[in-house]
Subunit: 249 residues, 6 copies
């Protein structure tokens, strides 16, 4: 059948699109086709460190989701660790599944260990992310958030420095907070998990690879068994007449 | 000093603006000036029963919030019981306070009794609202959600029928679920609280009056004691340079 | 209509009555009349650091509450951060609302930020206060308790030293515990919030001003909308015949 | 060594003292000496269905506790299922242990099964009792509260009717709520557990026997191993100088 | 690389082995090789409805797990919805991943909807399963357990009757309990999900297919990224010397 | 009547049997007869630091439990702080009660104080023990786990060193974590509680004495009032025909 997956970089820069595309080509399943899109350049924020930035591009996310389903994608990934607009995205799709970095990383991490630390860029990110960890049910498994005091666009600037800080935070998470598993809590913390994991010796989940693989998994069980998002209550779709009357997406 | 408050009807219809305005004039404090705005007609959804509808108008909410602060409003109320974009709204304001129906109704209800039932229009609304009840800390105080099987635009059509259903739901909430207090979980369930309360004999919180009064309260403690939203972590403001560079609001 | 509010200093000393009265005159609403009473001097404890002290004066609190309602007060505040006898007080009133420092401070703090630290005098106070924080629903929002190792009667002795310790504790709460908002967890920690807030830059809630303003808020919604304490289950009143037969209050 | 235990009926009637005494003589350990006291007749409420009744007699409870320790009792039981003034009582004792019906019944029930229902007289009792169940840590194990619509002084009036209602409630708790264990949530529901238990076939905990036996257990481990209440934080004793200066008990 | 997966039917009957094998051949990935084993016939229980049955065969599970890793299986599934010995199994493996029906079904269900009902055979099963639901973090998402009053060996006897009861329970879960997703809480409830799902219109998770697919997913991320179970704390392996000295497995 | 109690050292060494026996003789009630058994030497692990060790000897625990009931023991104690196979043990007994160190120590500690620290040998033990603390309902009362970095067989080697480390950990638990009560979280940490308690001044619960005394308590209420484990749901016994057919124990 094949799996057609869309990665949405919900930022107004294509700066990372090619890198993601390349990385995904290496890790995807053979029958997966993955596309990477971002918002039109200069149309909005180039990172989503603030919830208000998320909000401003959420409608564009939904339009992309809607279009993706029309173009017969089997899954879409909203590529930001705040998992922006995930409920809304699931409401407006009928067959396509939708996932996001925090959800997928947390499900994986909670299967691999019992105590999870999340390494973030800034302390500002923590309250919204903690809210999500609790919402997904993993509050009791949260060992700690660790901030390495870097913005989204700092991570890839001086990679040695970034790795150094991540390692230090991960080490503290292990030693002081009792973490069994580490999650790198930003999709732009890509390219580091392997080296950090090799050194600290516990699983280090990459927040861009995790949702890609989780999406493939969800697509497969949806295609084979019809196990897609329930449309009964939480993700119930709005009536088509309203969508059309209001010219919504 | 006076309190300048903006009620935002986050829907693309001014159908209810005048009614709200009239109602608020009756219940506001003498030194309060309250304005009611809605989205431009025909620019989007006329109700927000679906999370995806919320998302589509969230940016417009933020623009209105931003403009409201520039126009020196002391408080803004995002007038939908899902409390859409509340975190984002608090990020982008410096002095103005922002509140919303669920937050304010729940704080009041939890002070008046120990067990709360929320009467909603449709079961579809419950998952997102339950998420909010837990997020605000009142999960243990939730007796039940009761659905009366009506959409937002049905509430005011046959008022007798609406009252009949609300009374029945409230009675069940009292008798079977042990509710001490009832919240009418939609701003368009206005005009009913008084009659229902008189009959069932426990507090029935109106979701449009509650946030107006809570906003007045927040404005007063902000003006007198500087107790506004903390800008440290959860509601930290983004840097102005970014907002301007991206022409965000 | 006016708001007639009684502040009860539930201690056997009028040491602080005048100061409170003066302070309240400055911050109250124009139509509020606020009285401050305390227990007869030498009739009992002059502070309530121990739960057993609270218990010994609880009946006197109830008598004062009962009398306050007879004298047509609209609200009473039980002025100790343990919120002593709050449930009982709400049982015996019919129209008057009753609130207390912890309840009101926590509702305010949880609206202004997502993570709250409470600065107390001694570690002994923490278990009972933590119990209350959980009871009110704010357990998930509690960043920390910080003790500054002072008794109730030490706070106003060397004000510079008190301020120095509060600032240090607040700073730690911000930096190490991630607090968005600080509560000064004793009514006798009055007169400090302003200076501390100015320095540390996040809201610092004063535990005597907060309940006064919250009481005014509750009175207003009670007078206008009949939203007083639910008398159905948790705050149900005892039968008058029993009260009279036993000559209770 | 012997165990000297005091049962306090915290009500102003000696109506039940003799019955309790007789019952306790049958079930106590051989080396236990148990006394039963109540408040002076006509000095206050003869039942504690309301929290405000509890509050009014709490100081007298503390005086009795204090006196009991002076008279070298090894344990005291505060004989009401609301467990009134338990924290305060533990603060003012040095060696004597103190327990109460809800605490002891819940610890026993949670050891005998995983899901507990509590049969109460009136729905009014539930909110305060539920608060206690959560406080003690057994919230997740609570299957239900069942009310049989009887006041404290009704239980012993028509014993057949009482037994009939308890059996029906217990049956429902088993069948509909999944209860493994039943607690009779009032000390005056005495004399019924045996018959109900025989019929419904699961443990039915009597709220007066349970604390007596738990008290004996606590006394024994205190005498043998020094395992009494921790006096460090939560049950720290107040300074003697203050107690004396204020002539507290 | 291929995925070599072992399904362990932890019962002393090969009654279902062939059926499982056939079913798995239909649903597995092309590069997956799946074997099905059970305990030697007549060596113990043929179902695990009781925890004591589980316990008796747990050592044999561990021996099979140990042997599976030696035979270079990439994953093993412990095929009972109580997830017996899952922690122990993860301790004794180094590279092989281990999963089980409840864990995998719950992770899937919680991604597909927000409210989950589990249909079990007997009420006896519920307490242990509820314990697991909470342990995995999904307590807040549990709508209900529904019992259809059948033992493990009844499910496949009269399939029409079984389907009828499952449909009825699922319908109730949807209508009364607000479930978005259904889990069939026993591996022997196989062969029903498709028909039930088609009729009730929400996802119905089969507890034998779910862990197989989850195992494939875990194997893939383990092979590609080294994301296997953390061996730091919770699943730390015992020292080989001890295992050998005691001739453990 | 007498109380006949069996302590099961669930390890394949009789190294500690005599010591336990002696110790129990000193602390038991006069009418208690206590036997101590262990697994046959060289038949398995000599400590249970790993969950997989527990699992391997669980069937033997059940056989001993079954035999104990046949030999008319009134109670059995499964002597390891992980409380292995407790649910299963309760399923297979009809009259005999069963308890274990963590359960009994936690019930006692939660009655003596509000905040509990558990001193363990290694950090590896913590996840499974924390799971149990939450399962029993005492998660909110857990101040901390403290590891003293010693294996089970190290505790009694250099007793001075062990005491030194326990004291240091206990001191930290008091000062930094706010613990009211300490539990020594391993039965082989015996012989230390008295000295540590004397020095640090708060209750220090010994994990072998606690379950013995709790067992005596449970036996007494079972003998006198029929309050044994509920056999309805969670601890329901399997049918005898199955046990016999499968020759289970």
């Amino acid at each position: 059948m094949g799996k057609k997956i869309l990665w949405i970089n919900p930022v107004a820069t294509n700066l990372f699109d090619e890198t993601f595309k390349k990385e995904f080509e290496k890790v995807k399943q053979p029958d997966t086709m993955v596309d990477v899109v971002s918002l039109p350049p200069a149309s909005g924020p180039t990172h989503l460190e603030y919830n208000c930035y998320e909000v401003m591009i959420m409608p564009e996310i939904l339009r992309m989701i809607k279009k993706a389903e029309e173009e017969e994608y089997d899954a879409a990934i909203i590529g930001c660790f705040y998992d922006p607009a995930l409920r809304a995205a699931r409401e407006i799709t009928e067959k396509m599944v939708v996932t996001a970095p925090a959800e997928s990383s947390l499900h994986i991490a909670a299967t691999l260990g019992e105590s999870i630390s999340i390494i973030v860029g800034r302390r500002k990110w923590i309250p919204e992310m903690r809210e999500n960890v609790h919402k997904y049910g993993f509050g009791e498994k949260l060992a700690s958030f660790k901030s390495i005091d870097m913005g989204v666009h700092d991570f890839q600037r001086d990679r040695n420095e970034t790795v150094r800080r991540i390692k230090q935070a991960a080490q503290e998470a292990k030693e002081k907070d009792g973490a069994d598993v580490i999650i790198l809590g930003c999709t732009i913390e890509f390219g580091f998990y392997h080296e950090v994991q090799a050194e600290i010796g516990i699983p280090v989940i990459d927040a861009s690879i995790a949702p890609l693989k989780y999406a493939e998994f969800l697509v497969e069980i949806n295609q084979k068994f019809g196990w897609g998002h329930s449309k009964l209550y939480g993700y119930q779709s709005p009536p088509n007449e309203e969508i059309e009357a209001w010219n919504l997406f």
